[in-house]
Amino acid sequence: MVVRSPWPVMSPNRDVLEAIVLNGNLKLYAELGELARYLESAMRKMTEVGAPMVANSAQLPQATAHLLDLNKMTEEGTLEVMRLTEIIQDNRTRAVKDLSAITSTLQAVDCSNLAARLEKTVNDLTQDEKHLMDIMTALSFQDLVAQRVKKLVTIVEDVQCKLVELVVVFGLKQEGTPPETQGKAGEMLKQLEASKSTAIKQDLADELLSEFGFK
């Protein structure tokens, strides 16, 4: 007696393999589709942030230049304060020396009161020497500021480099596309730039004031 199977007869190994492959392909296609959708969304977001990024990266050299200007301006101001302090120090050293000589002379001719008063003046001047030295050492703030600024400049230049790489790799720069609103940072940089080129010196300001009747 022949028993017929109610099921279609299949070659077990080949058909199972085909089913597995078909199933695997479907899953793969689904995942590829998901990946494609994800990539497309990421690229769209990159393009959205691209224009402001390009605009901001163009401002970074300006920011670096202003930071370096800061170093230069603080250095110039500090050197001027030092110059004046040194003049005062030298003048005081001479005055102390002269007064001490006068004091000795007065003591020699027995003018002790006058000698005592002069000695007090010499002591006051000597105390001020310490204050003047403290002013000089306090000016070392400029060195610390300059070091911090140099580190900031390095960071800004590094960020600029990386932004440029992004722009190049993702092709974000579009010809003829105006930059989006530059925001508060951009405005402040513009004002800084303007103050460099349009700020007037005191003598010119005085000239203009006198034209308006200011005496």
Partner: protein, 126 residues
């Protein structure tokens, strides 16, 4: 041995303001024979050209740092006994250890006062 007021001192710092401050303090302490250098390389050139009794140096400088200059001084037979005082903003423990291992004579952290500089110098030249 106390410091000779006539000895030539080399102040090494890339910031002109800092060099001026140290020079001013040294002058107030009675040391008027001061020369300056902008970086470690410049300093080494001067040290090889003339006889100096003392070096006061910053750490972070372009071309050659203070720590590299110190190592070069200690490696040079003619300069190895030269007292070197580091005056620097590098205030990490690792920096101090590195300076000690490199052979620094003493170490001051910025900002500093004239009294601290004098105290450290007295310790070097006692």
């Amino acid at each position: 041995m106390p410091a000779d007021p006539n000895m030539k001192i080399l102040v090494v710092d890339d910031m002109s303001t800092m060099r001026r401050i140290v020079k001013n303090i040294m002058k107030q302490l009675g040391f008027a024979n001061i020369e300056e250098a902008e970086n470690g390389q410049d300093a080494l050139t001067k040290l090889h050209a003339e006889a100096f009794g003392f070096v006061i140096s910053d750490w972070n400088m372009p071309v050659m740092t203070g720590i590299d200059m110190l190592r070069a001084i200690r490696a040079d037979d003619k300069l190895k006994t030269l007292p070197v005082l580091m005056v620097t903003a590098e205030a990490q423990k690792e920096n101090l250890i590195e300076a000690i291992q490199a052979g620094v004579s003493n170490y001051i952290v910025k900002p500093f006062t004239a009294e601290v500089l004098q105290e450290k110098m007295n310790k070097i030249f006692k």
